[in-house]
Amino acid sequence: MVQINFAQRRVNCKIVYYGPGRSGKTTNLEKIHENAPGNTTGELVSIATETDRTLYFDFLPLELGKVGGMETKFSLYTVPGQVFYAKTRRLVLQGTDGVVFVADSNPAMMKENLESVEDLVKNLRENGLDIKEIPIVFQWNKRDLAETVPVEEMNAQLNRWNAPSCKSIAIHNEGVFDALKLVAGLVIRKLNREFGRAPAGAQKSAPAQTPPPAPRTAAAPRAQTPPPAPPVAPAASPKPTTAARRRATPPPAPQPTAARPRTAGPQAQVPGTGTTRRPAPAARAPAPPPPPLPPPPPPIEMTEPDSAATPPPARRARRSATQMIQARKEELVSTRPPAPSGPSAAPVGTETERTRPRQVRVRSRGGFPTKVVLISVFVTLGIVALTLAFLVVLKLIPSPL
């Protein structure tokens, strides 16, 4: 559905070309792409098979420039016409604002035309759209065939809703722009009813989400007439054969001269990347300053922590506790490590800083190392014991036993 962007002054509409297989839907877009004046069209994107049958859709953006102060753009799509692409057609129809039904005027294709119309009704319904309310134009294509179904009969059988219609020979670029103008006009009229400014002095309620259905007869006068000869552009560029092709934009159309010859012969491959004629429109009006947003949360660091960086204090404390536990374990089971060999090794019998087993150091008050104190105590006790024993032996003192 139409997207209206008042901030950037843009209106975007979607039009879908529908119809049975090989009725001329893709040809319509090709002719619009080749013959639209100036820089109104962008790249024509076609997702098609190797044999140039539309596989998913063709897409062509058509920018009309400023209309009523709004940059107006139409996105033109085609659907794959073959029967087994029914689901794909439903997807492409999603959110469409207008439909051009391209019917094949060949009498042998009348059954396919009828099935395609029923398919369109069903797919629109599944997308929440009603064919009676959506802008639709019927294009009776291939009017140059040797045998064609009369327009009145085609209208009677296919156009049950009395929608506008026009004749066409899309391959000759006849009637292509007429159908486009008809459907675009209907879309814009409907949009204006919903979002247009009320005339002076008239009260208008707030626009509803679903606009009122447009009376079909109001658009009927612009119908049922054959198309005039449109301006002729240079010969069509050959169609590429890749599965997904992007066509470069052709040069602007020259003055109309003679009738265009049919495209024939081998088809060359267009370079993979096309060029967009017109960049996306910039914001036309300066946007007011947005309301202040809460400060964003600090970005979460996803990178690995730098090993050279100083670890946070909490981690340092845990390591030191672990280290202390480990040191106490080592003290309980400590053994003198073997003396390192080599010229850098210290002399045998000495303890170096690296070889000394870890011990929990207990500082004495006098500042003497514990070992020395203990040794002194044991030596003293030993001396005393020996002295007493000597005296007992000499019978100088009585035996304590």
């Binding site: 997207q3 209206i4 962007n5 008042f6 901030a7 950037q8 975007n12 001329g24 040809t27 004046p37 790249e43 994107v45 859709f57 897409f59 009309l64 209309v67 009523g68 102060g69 709004m70 107006t72 996105s75 997807l91 999603q94 959110g95 291939k142 009017r143 140059d144 065939l145 040797a146 066409s168 020979i169 899309a170 391959i171 007429d178 103008k181 675009a184 814009i188 204006n192 979002f195 247009g196 400014r197 626009p207 989400q209 612009r222 049922q224 007439t225 054959p226 198309p227 005039p228 000869a229 992007r246 996306a280 946007a287 007011p288 947005p290 309301p291 947003l293 964003p296 970005p299 996803m302």
Partner: protein, 190 residues
């Protein structure tokens, strides 16, 4: 009630006003600076682009919006075949550039293009917050009624018809009933 609103959002027309787009632009810019992605676009499900931020000058954003929307629609059908409602996130990885598409408010798609300056994990991490913020903006926009000032100009329809006549001269009304196209000719090629 949440389901009713979701269904309403799916059907609702997206009308964007200056404050909506301003807020969305700010959200996208914050996302790009946090995630180091190349570009971020907001596209509606019909393939119309709403706004874009980042390195988009060399990007055909119009075509990208249409193709991404179509791709999302087709994968939604695949999801239904698998018993899912839809896939809310799509990710396509290329040799140097990748694209991450996520659904917002059942109505729009956030398209994130990134290269090897960042990682998919970083993009996904910030994309979750991004979609929530844009979701809030879109829900507000859907609930808001348009103000009297924000309407199409009264001359919109007339300007349109003039523009179309100027760009594509000739109309069905001016053509005669006996068209040259009715004369017998060799069958058309297509």
């Amino acid at each position: 009630m949440a389901e009713d609103f979701s269904a309403k959002m799916k059907r609702a027309r997206l009308v964007f006003y200056a404050e909506d787009v301003g807020r969305i632009d700010t959200i996208l810019e914050d996302f790009l600076s946090a995630s180091q992605a190349k570009a971020a676009l907001l596209v509606d499900k019909e393939g119309h682009m709403v706004t874009k931020k980042g390195m988009t000058k060399a990007l055909d954003s119009t075509g990208l919006a249409a193709l991404v929307a179509a791709s999302f629609a087709s994968t939604r059908e695949v999801a239904k075949l698998l018993g899912e409602t839809e896939f809310s996130v799509l990710f396509h990885q290329g040799s140097s550039e990748s694209i991450h598409v996520s659904l917002v408010a059942d109505r729009a798609l956030v398209v994130i293009i990134f290269d090897d300056r960042t990682t998919i994990g970083m993009v996904r991490l910030h994309a979750g917050q991004l979609t929530k913020k844009i979701n809030a903006v879109l829900e507000e926009a859907a609930k808001r009624k348009p103000s009297e000032g924000e309407k199409l100009d009264g001359s919109f329809e007339a300007d349109f018809e003039e523009k179309m006549d100027a760009l594509f001269p000739g109309s069905p009304d001016s053509a005669s009933s006996n068209s040259a196209g009715e004369s017998p000719a060799p069958p058309a090629g297509t």
